[in-house]
Subunit: 339 residues, 2 copies
């Protein structure tokens, strides 16, 4: 896009002259004015102020960066984020990064060019950390730096609830199976909680962190390496489903032989089985609050740098029923009163 | 947004004068020019040409109108549409209409104000029919008028494949269960094909079209009303899953007692059961071609008014296996050579 220097160059005048014509202030000869206006027209130059106003009034846009909206967890998140943005007069540009760093950087540059008011991102990269993204930012589930507000489920609480449910359901050796986050992420707290709870009960445990490239290979490797594990907590529901299928193919009954508890809560009904025992993330609350945080930054307000929302254990059919556990439903929120 | 008339009124001059100033053509006194430019500035008026160029150069936006991106079929569609738009230098504004007509109209007006280059819509309304949406349009799965290009799966072929699979799997009385499209839609062809195929085999059939308000109620009503039906084709996979659950609760085995075949192909793996026998829509092809159709219109090209893409029968675990049927895979496309 042409800038004021291009206009001055084409018109053969100084920057001050261009400014006087555009702002209609000060003295400019008709001939010079005509040259400047012709250059403005030829270059389709839009004065910054006009462009800014055009943006402010007409394109209240927010970018949403997701690995893929095709994933059931992210599609639910995108639905509620768009809904909350719409209620606040904003429109959502959806970007599927496919977890590809270069693609994500291209998207960010595109969003900047489109003058979005800000970006909500679920990113696996640290591109945002170095001040390259000079825009209001909120991250979901990923800590980047102290100055970028992030919102997440209480992953520690989720890990604790899941591990306690496995133990109270009779597990004697606990396993954790999940993807290893490439950067610092509170997702790791799910695993840490399992280690702490299992240790506090004096129970043995095993940890398998995968690179996320192939769920099927990962679950089969896990079963082979740990035939004596009788309770598994997985970092996602899709991992849980893959594990359960592989266990059944090896004639292990779920939950009788091995209990499995997932994380996310992507199943909205029990028409498909297994109906997973899982930690349900408060997706709607995460979505709406991520928007409120971002719009707060856009308005120049101070917003909390960390927002942690409580999770819920849902008893499905893949862990042993336990009345005591079913009663554990927490709704902790570190800054709920703010909204 | 201010228009040229507002500028003329505020400046106290005629439209022609405003035009001469903006286009820098013809004679205008310095005093009048100053008044016009001040009005332009005060109103933040952007001449159409500038706005258009601004849009052309900086905001290559397309609106995608979906009932809800939360639905697994639509989230896959949104993923591939965004991917194809991105490849072509366009960005996607996502709108979830929630199938609410007023909400959809508000979104359309918003998209017009944001000067999107066009809209891809899965709409349940006829708002687009009356020339109110003066933008390039492509509809998916919904016929609106002859002049709005639409793209759809070959619903008739899908209904035929499903019905033949039920019959060759041993069905003696066929049922159709599906939502009734509120407007003319080729989705009805799924049902028409079932009627024609069942009739050609001399088999009895029953048809239940629902208002889509409550799947659970609909499937239970269907089972009660038609206890002798032993093969059911449903208009969506989610209907199929709800029906199968209700049948099993009544101790009917699927597929032994009742075969069920769905439509859509939303299951990307068989980690969740039932792994449905279903008609798989070519979602990626629909998505990419809908974008190509729309961009063709944007470029001023003639594009086909109807694009019908072939579907595939996928043998899952809810209909009787039949080798002859499994071989039926068609890839018909009425205008595939165009792309």
């Amino acid at each position: 896009m042409a800038n004021v220097k291009d206009v001055a160059k084409l018109a053969g005048v100084g920057l001050g002259t261009v400014s006087r014509v555009i702002n209609n202030k000060g003295s400019v000869s008709d001939k010079t004015r005509a040259k400047v206006l012709k250059a403005v027209e030829d270059l389709n130059y839009i004065p910054n102020e006009v462009a800014r106003n055009f943006k402010m009034k007409e394109t209240k846009l927010i970018g949403l960066m997701l690995p893929s909206v095709w994933h059931p967890f992210f599609s639910k998140l995108a639905y509620f984020i768009e809904n909350e943005l719409d209620k606040n007069g904003y429109k959502m540009l959806l970007c599927n990064s496919d977890s590809d760093k270069n693609k994500e950087i291209q998207y960010i540059e595109m969003l900047k060019k489109n003058q979005v008011a800000g970006i909500i991102t679920i990113s696996y990269h640290d591109y945002y950390a170095h001040g390259k993204v000079d825009l209001p930012l909120v991250t979901i589930d990923r800590y980047i730096t102290d100055d970028i507000p992030h919102i997440a489920s209480d992953n520690y609480q989720g890990g604790r609830l899941a591990t306690e449910a496995l133990i109270k359901g009779g597990a004697t050796k606990i396993g954790y199976l999940g993807g290893k986050p490439p950067h610092r992420s509170s997702v790791s707290d799910r695993m840490k909680a399992l280690i702490e709870v299992a240790s506090s009960y004096g129970l043995p445990y095993v940890i398998e962190e995968t690179d996320g490239s192939n769920d099927q290979v990962a679950v089969e490797k896990f079963i082979k390496a740990h035939p004596d594990v009788d309770g598994v907590f997985t970092s996602t529901d899709l991992y849980a489903a893959a594990l359960i299928k592989a266990l059944r193919q090896k004639h292990k009954k779920v939950p009788e032989d091995v209990q499995v508890i997932g994380f996310d809560g992507i199943q909205d009904n029990d028409n498909f089985t297994p109906y997973l025992s899982t930690i349900v993330q408060p997706v709607e609350a995460i979505s709406r609050q991520s928007v409120q945080l971002l719009l707060g930054i856009v308005r120049g307000e101070e917003v909390p740098k960390e927002t942690i929302l409580g999770v819920t254990f849902r008893q499905g059919n893949t862990s042993n029923s336990n009345k005591e556990i079913q009663a554990i439903v927490t709704r902790k929120s570190s800054n709920k009163e703010k909204y």
